[in-house]
Chain length 375, copies 3
Amino acid sequence: MALAACATGLIAQPALADTVSTKGGIKVKSDDGSFVGEFGGRLMLDAAVFDNDTADNASGTEFRRLRLHSKGKIHGLGYKIEVDFADGDTVTKDAYLQMAVAGGKLTIGQFKQYFTMENLTSSRYTTFMERSYLTSFSPSYQVGVGYWGHYNALGFGISAFNAYQDEDADGGSGTTEGVGGSARVIFSPSLSEDVTLHVGGSALVTGGIEGRNRVRVRAAGHLSDASRPDIVNINTGERSESTIFALEFASIAGPLSVQAEYLGGTFETETVEQDVAAFYATTSYFLTGESRPFNAKTGKFGRVKPRKPHGAYEIAARYDYVENDSNDFEVESVTLGLNWYMNPQVRFMLNYIAADVAEGSDEPNAVTARMQFDF
Amino acid sequence: MALAACATGLIAQPALADTVSTKGGIKVKSDDGSFVGEFGGRLMLDAAVFDNDTADNASGTEFRRLRLHSKGKIHGLGYKIEVDFADGDTVTKDAYLQMAVAGGKLTIGQFKQYFTMENLTSSRYTTFMERSYLTSFSPSYQVGVGYWGHYNALGFGISAFNAYQDEDADGGSGTTEGVGGSARVIFSPSLSEDVTLHVGGSALVTGGIEGRNRVRVRAAGHLSDASRPDIVNINTGERSESTIFALEFASIAGPLSVQAEYLGGTFETETVEQDVAAFYATTSYFLTGESRPFNAKTGKFGRVKPRKPHGAYEIAARYDYVENDSNDFEVESVTLGLNWYMNPQVRFMLNYIAADVAEGSDEPNAVTARMQFDF
Amino acid sequence: MALAACATGLIAQPALADTVSTKGGIKVKSDDGSFVGEFGGRLMLDAAVFDNDTADNASGTEFRRLRLHSKGKIHGLGYKIEVDFADGDTVTKDAYLQMAVAGGKLTIGQFKQYFTMENLTSSRYTTFMERSYLTSFSPSYQVGVGYWGHYNALGFGISAFNAYQDEDADGGSGTTEGVGGSARVIFSPSLSEDVTLHVGGSALVTGGIEGRNRVRVRAAGHLSDASRPDIVNINTGERSESTIFALEFASIAGPLSVQAEYLGGTFETETVEQDVAAFYATTSYFLTGESRPFNAKTGKFGRVKPRKPHGAYEIAARYDYVENDSNDFEVESVTLGLNWYMNPQVRFMLNYIAADVAEGSDEPNAVTARMQFDF
């Protein structure tokens, strides 16, 4: 190999001749591929202007995500460490070791548990600035063990984890500790080159939750701190548990895509039972003809690559809904979006959100914008 | 290109053949220059011994700055993310995307707003361990949009930003939120190879400031926490605003340089008006013959490169002054400095500071030292 | 040099042709070796299940260490910056500049002071998940100046530092500030290729300690927060000081190793005097025939490299003891360990700990496990 020849006779390096590349970050790969070292990050800077109703959301700016990560391979084992430094906090996201087992991947450490589609799609690739309300029920990043496998058009994941959510968590629960398990099955048949069809289902159980068990949503985007009602807020002193099921659907036909998920479940203690449900439907269309990439093996949307030098333009609309049936509480919203993918790594987003909390008790509207890049 | 030839036939790398280099950090550049990934940092470790007067400053050590950064280019767009981890905090400094527009640079994100010369000169290159008192009035790192351009000997910048200052900010204001704009114009004609002349002016307006509007200075260096009077401290419950103008001057003739800035302005609410002014003058001389580098296009001092293996030695003196004319309050100091540039990236500094707060109410003296490196 | 030839004619790079390698992180080295840039990290994820006695230790998981570091050489000077982000904190570990002086190394900045053997051995290479109780008396990472030298079988280090320990420090002291000095002398003669013998001694003095002077131990591993008695807790308002001496011993004969340390000392103020002592003895045996590497120049254990593809297996036992003779208080434990070194950079650990606090007042047992990797 040519570069190996170039590097012979060098100092006692730990490895073979390794190759380096950059897309803004740094990636080094060993000759045989068993070692990879990669350093990168992502930045999302948001601004929001509110037309407030009863709650007083403050217009302003924030770093929604400011993350640095290191990932790669160690003796053939995958690893990733990612830390978010937005707003002066230090929050560990991914922090795991990953092994190839029986054609799939066994993951040990902290990672996103296998539950629902939009939740598992990277924040870099979601259609709107914020995920739908139903993602608030997701366990997100937890310490556990999981396995993801796939056979032909079928994919499935199962994981067991130490349920913990702190106040900083997206969608916001109070501090809770317990145990949980999640599972997801997907079916993504290959219909034609231009058409993707995807269906799937997820289940989540948690138990032995100590402390407050809470699910909050931000009705009108992440800066709408004042319009942030509790959908669930169980704090009886008893241990609580939850059982949640979800269905997912996505279809992509050229520049058009449709995506929808439904979730229903129960939170309970010995004396309390609350039934929740959530639903959203999104449609997106690329004015410039691109098509949303979808990974059929993992059931996640991927990186949009503009066809033309001036980038890709996408318009999108979403209806979003969540309710607590036990006390007739609900939050709903309509979001309109315009995205400009300047290049595959830089995106500007504009969202208009009209939200309705508890049938008119708070009806905030917001115009929000994001600048995003990753490397 | 030779290395490209070396690297052909390799695994499916995302980019072209990329080259790597190190000056202690890591820099990778793609063949066509449109992608760059760079990882680096800086460390400044300080010690101070106080001869206290009325205020009880604690002698000791601190990490003044401990930063890691990632910067580079993404599809030809510049970016930078820099986080400071000194003292167990996590503070975002630069975090922006930058585009070439009409021969200048458009910056979106968090960056130092265009205001005054010493403020914009990197802390790695300032003559003394701490910047002058007048930098306390600078908005420093803020989220906004700015443009910097230059034509021949003229340079100018203008920016609009979301004014926010937390308690950790250098020079310390209370938590404030509002909006602001700043502008700077510089004129740096090329006189001869050995002589630099530079003049400039800056303007800063902020408005709609909610919360306390406060400017503090550390009279005798950054560890002089006890000698840290308020120059401005408006906390009436009304929104406040400020208008500040500043002039800058620098001249370098071989090993000798002179640098001075003047600032004057007003802080006001509906019921309060306070007038402030600040001034400093610095002179520096390289015993070993080096000359302070100055970037005429951006109006900032740069990295000193010692001529000899044993490094460069610089002696310097500064008179520093700030006042609030409305209540006859003032702080002044004289600083003497000795710098040893061990090499272009490692510097040791020794400062003696004799300060006077409010005409003798507190007259602390300090001997401070710094070890600094960057990569 | 071949690669240099490859790289000639390239863009204006700051340095010479540099070579890159990866073992999961990234390392770049300049052609002449005077510049090195290296980015890496370590992750340790722990789980513990307690069989509690009187104190209520919570079974669960935690990131014991989650660190990123940058290190290398700047114009031939060594440097390192390492930050720990475990559990949402930001704690600076190493942060120093290092120079070669008279065959040894002069270190300026924050680093582990020269005191005792296990303390100085990297957490990546210790036999058990947690170091012994006597490490709680170590100053660990402090800002100071130190020199380490070695001549033949003799090694020695001496350092002066700004004593500071915050609540997060391992083994936990209250917040204290003062000054200190430490010294260590080691003798590691080369007996034969398979046999290592090592003896050494350390001394530590601290003085002028303001605030609480406290030494705590975690009786049954790091998650045993409730079984965390004070061995020393002096909080009289007077300044305190301490004088501590320690002896160390290690011997390695093929797969078998024995390691022991003893410590004794005094904490005192004008009105209080407390005498402490600590001791541990460890033995370890590699079922797969490997031998624990030991660096005779620095007196530290090093990285185990498995001989076979399926990794190395080690079994180990430890007796651990600490007492405050002045008030008849003691903590002791027996730990049994099983380690699987999957490869040189990935290790799984299982520890069983039976502890006894103050002669039966609390006797927690714990089973703890760790997944660890570094790059």
